[in-house]
């Protein structure tokens, strides 16, 4: 009885565990859509605008104290939505999306700075959600380099195999490519299987 009371009091005053989590991945994988989904699900707010044009997010955005409860665990997260990681940024690609040359060049410059900023954030993180587009080939230089570096840093990693609402999606291909890390198939846009992702987040980062 005394022990029960003691543990109850301890739980009451115990600080919630807080983890700083970065959402990483190539451009247009759905990082901001996922960040919006998480923040909306757990705090009723939004994180940032999304677009079909690559490199919409060119500055890292941070949302503090998002509390996620899953598997009987409560985890408090600082969520950092980062610009897309790429090995080549060419303004011609933006012009193909209908942008004027000057605007396209400015976007390319900001996107390049964004990649550097995203990498700098890694120093400060407790874990990473790596978002991959399940309709694309996962064996890309970006994915392989990022995963290799996370492993070298011993950063806990959860792979979100996004866009499973699309017919051509193959989350199994991602799981097969990186079997050493938990891969959760989701659709951030439709909210499909996000409960499973929250459980994994609580397990890994809680």
């Amino acid at each position: 009885m005394v022990i029960n009371l003691f543990s109850w009091v301890k739980r009451l005053f115990k600080k919630k565990k807080k983890a700083k989590i970065g959402i990483y991945g190539p451009p247009n994988a759905g990082k901001t859509t996922l960040a919006n989904r998480i923040v909306r699900d757990w705090s009723g707010d939004a994180m940032g605008p999304v677009s079909h044009i690559p490199h919409e997010t060119r500055r890292a955005r941070r949302r503090e104290d998002v509390i996620i409860e899953a598997n009987g665990t409560t985890v408090m997260l600082d969520i950092i939505d980062t610009p897309g990681l790429a090995t080549k940024i060419d303004f011609h690609g933006f012009m193909a999306c209908g942008m004027e040359e000057e605007e396209a060049k400015r976007r390319a410059k900001e996107a390049t700075e964004g990649v550097i900023e995203a990498v700098k954030w890694l120093e400060d993180l407790d874990g990473v959600i790596l978002v991959m587009d399940a309709t694309e080939d996962p064996f890309t230089q970006v994915n392989v380099t990022v995963i290799g570096n996370m492993e070298a840093r011993n950063l806990p990693l959860v792979i979100a195999a996004n866009k499973i609402d699309m017919q051509t999606a193959s989350p199994a291909r991602i799981r097969g490519a990186f079997p050493q890390h938990p891969t959760i198939p989701i659709s951030a846009l439709e909210g499909i299987n996000t409960d499973q992702l929250y459980k994994e987040i609580a397990k890994r980062f809680g």
């Binding site: 090995t87 940024i89 060419d90 303004f91 400015r106 410059k109 550097i116």
Partner: protein, 119 residues
């Protein structure tokens, strides 16, 4: 190696017997060995190699630069270098041209030293 007349500079193939009786052009009987000139072959090679030399070397994980500025609005990023190194080296379009932002690097070291002192 071909032979060259020291007087009139006429060139004769190696082992040519015509020079045994002196240079057929000027009668001089002194010759020296010269390095073979492969003008024609070289030109052919250059023409064949020209497109390859024009092709810009792509940035690789082993490249020294972390970001290469190909042109205004066109960039190549060396993610491996960015992830592993604190400092950033900018490569310009042409191979061997780099920009090292010293101010940023010095600022980083200053910050690190301050943090270490605080510890």
């Amino acid at each position: 190696m071909p032979h060259q007349c020291t007087k009139c500079h006429a060139i004769y193939q190696e082992g040519s017997t015509v020079i045994l009786n002196g240079c057929p052009k000027c009668g001089n009987n002194k010759f020296e060995y010269i390095k073979e000139r492969k003008d024609k072959v070289d030109i052919d090679n250059i023409i064949q190699e020209a497109p390859a030399t024009k092709k810009r070397r792509k940035i690789t994980p082993e490249s020294v630069e972390s970001v290469r500025i190909v042109s205004s609005g066109e960039y190549e990023l060396n993610l491996d270098s960015l992830l592993k190194r604190d400092d950033i080296v900018f490569g310009l379009k042409n191979e061997g041209e780099y920009i090292v932002p010293l101010t940023t690097i010095f600022d980083q070291h200053k910050k690190k030293k301050t943090i270490e002192k605080k510890k």
